[in-house]
């Protein structure tokens, strides 16, 4: 019997497969396709202090082997997530969730982390300091080691839950930022968020996306994500959740070999709502082919 289980900061997951924030809502749409309790966990839609409508439409554009989105963190706000979404999640998901939070200030991250800390349903708080679709006041916490450390330290004080900082690939040195987060008290690192990209409609001569640019995700970014997971895993001692273009059981294994303790699946959920289910079901077969008995043994072997 192959052992798919992995552990993240003391939380045991049945398998390493976790739908990524922003591609899975709060799980409700996917529970209509399959029993989502088969997942290791899921990272819910990035949640901010106030409700947000997000950016104007069109918000999505297709690319070769991927897509660009500029949703702009649309979410119902922390009050609605705590009072409505979490109770609803409890009716169809019995495992700890990963609570993804976004913010425009250190105070907002702290506020959201404090509010979510009291929920027994929350296993890990994933702090998104890397959304490419927010440019308020030019602050981008994920692109500067000092700012990343400041957010990490403040959130660290605000909660006893494990905190994972979600990092942007659109930076000079992702390892420096990861190290800054580790030094400031992060329990783990999630990477990568989307790559900044753009498409132009050559008939209208205008950008496809209303906000002009957006985050590029999908299968095409897998090699970039894998390289960054590899680099960061060599630079820090804390666990890594690897993501970016993961679309198959083979990709999950490759990502773990690069140094990820668990793996998130993002855009693939949007083109195939059964993606995570199919990956989890394929893992034992692929493990057998590769003579892997325990998935956690391959973390960082490359």
């Amino acid at each position: 019997m192959p052992d798919l289980s992995v552990t993240l900061s003391g939380i045991k997951l049945d398998n390493p497969v976790i739908p990524a924030s922003g591609t899975f809502g709060y799980g409700a749409e996917f529970k209509d396709f399959y029993d989502i309790n088969i997942l290791g966990s899921f990272s819910f839609k990035g949640t901010t202090k106030e409700p947000r409508f997000g950016n104007p439409t069109p918000r999505v554009a297709e690319c070769v082997s991927g897509m660009i989105n500029s949703v702009g963190l649309q979410n119902p706000g922390i009050d609605a997530v705590i009072n409505e979404e979490l109770p609803r999640i409890a009716t169809y998901f019995k495992k700890p969730v990963i609570a993804n939070i976004g913010g425009f200030s250190v105070d907002e991250f702290v506020y959201c982390a404090e509010r979510l800390s009291v929920s027994e349903q929350v296993g890990i708080i994933e702090v998104n300091i890397s959304c490419p679709n927010l440019h308020k006041g030019g602050v981008n916490f994920g692109s500067d080691p000092k700012a990343a450390a400041e957010v990490t330290a403040a959130v660290r004080k605000a909660t006893n839950k494990p905190i994972y900082l979600k990092l942007s690939p659109n930076v000079e040195s992702i390892t420096e930022i990861a190290k800054a987060c580790e030094d400031a008290g992060a329990d783990g690192i999630s990477l990568i968020n989307t790559l900044l990209g753009m498409r132009i409609d050559i008939k209208t001569r205008k950008p496809v996306i209303a906000n002009k640019m957006g985050g590029f995700s999908g299968r095409a970014i897998f090699p970039v994500a894998l390289r960054m997971v590899y680099e960061v895993s060599k630079a820090v001692k804390i666990p890594i959740i690897g993501m970016g273009g993961v679309a198959s059981a083979e990709n999950v294994i490759e990502m773990m070999m690069a140094g990820a303790s668990a793996v998130q699946v993002g855009a693939e959920n949007l083109r195939n709502p059964y993606a995570c289910k199919e990956i989890i079901e394929a893992l034992p077969r692929v493990m057998a082919e590769l003579k892997i008995d325990r998935l956690r043994d391959i973390v960082g072997v490359a």
Partner: protein, 244 residues
């Protein structure tokens, strides 16, 4: 919502840039006219959302326009199978249509109204249909609507077929009162209908979308009753909830 493999029966051009695709497979996921399917196409990352024109237990009829590379590739498929997510979106509410509904289709917004018209007539309603196109070479399904027994008017912008002008010009020809209206087409057409008609309306909207089942928030719009996802809470919205 279901992910189902369908077999292509026919896929033929029926008007300028417009094709009719008839598929066989399990249509059990479809429950209302106005819903759509999302088609996986080899070589394209995202699925292509296409409204359901008509269906029975085993076959599904879709009508689509070749607007980009994906739909062009789809138009070239003559045999084989297609992977579809079916039964997406809410569809039209037949019970809110009344005895004498007006159905208005603009261009490739016409197809879902055919399935709606058929089911309204089966329920004993007496729908009147207005179809709007740019010119005669784009007109499709006029005869099909007439065969269902619905009074059907066609308007073309250049006057090459039917009433010259827009669907609102065809509307002026009609003298009877309607209980409600259902429409699908370009947004300016929907807005013009909303302004011209002082009765309950159901409008089917279009937006660029990624998933088609409510997860990605790619197709959100603001309504008087909060934010809605065109793919999941729509594509059919009540006319009086729209912020024009």
């Amino acid at each position: 919502m279901n992910k189902v493999l369908f077999q292509i029966l026919t896929n033929n051009q029926i008007a300028k840039d417009v094709y009719r695709l008839i598929l066989s497979g399990d249509t059990g996921g479809i429950s209302a006219p106005g819903q759509f399917v999302n088609i996986e196409l080899e070589g394209f990352y995202l699925r292509r959302p296409i409204s359901v024109c008509d269906w029975d237990d085993k076959t599904l009829t879709l009508i689509y326009k070749t607007v980009g590379e994906g739909t062009k590739a789809l138009s070239k498929l003559k045999t084989g199978s297609l992977n579809l997510l079916t039964g997406l979106g809410n569809g039209f509410d037949l019970s809110a249509c009344g005895k004498r509904p007006l159905l208005v289709g603009g261009g490739v917004g016409t197809p879902p109204l055919y399935g709606l018209c058929k089911r309204l007539i089966e329920r004993g309603a007496e729908p009147t249909v207005i179809l709007g196109f740019n010119s005669a070479d784009e007109v499709f399904y006029e005869e099909e609507f007439k065969c269902l027994g619905a009074e059907t008017l066609v308007a073309t912008v250049d006057g090459s077929h039917g009433v010259k002008g827009l669907v609102t010009d065809a509307l002026k020809v009609l003298t009877q009162d309607f209980d409600s209206y259902c429409a699908c087409g370009p947004e300016p057409m929907l807005r013009a209908l909303y302004k011209a008609l002082d009765i309950k309306g159901q409008l089917s909207f279009e937006e660029r979308m990624a998933c088609g089942f409510g997860a990605c928030m790619g197709c959100s719009c603001k309504t008087k009753y909060g934010s809605k996802r065109i793919c999941k809470d729509g594509p059919v919205l009540k006319a009086d909830e729209i912020i024009w």
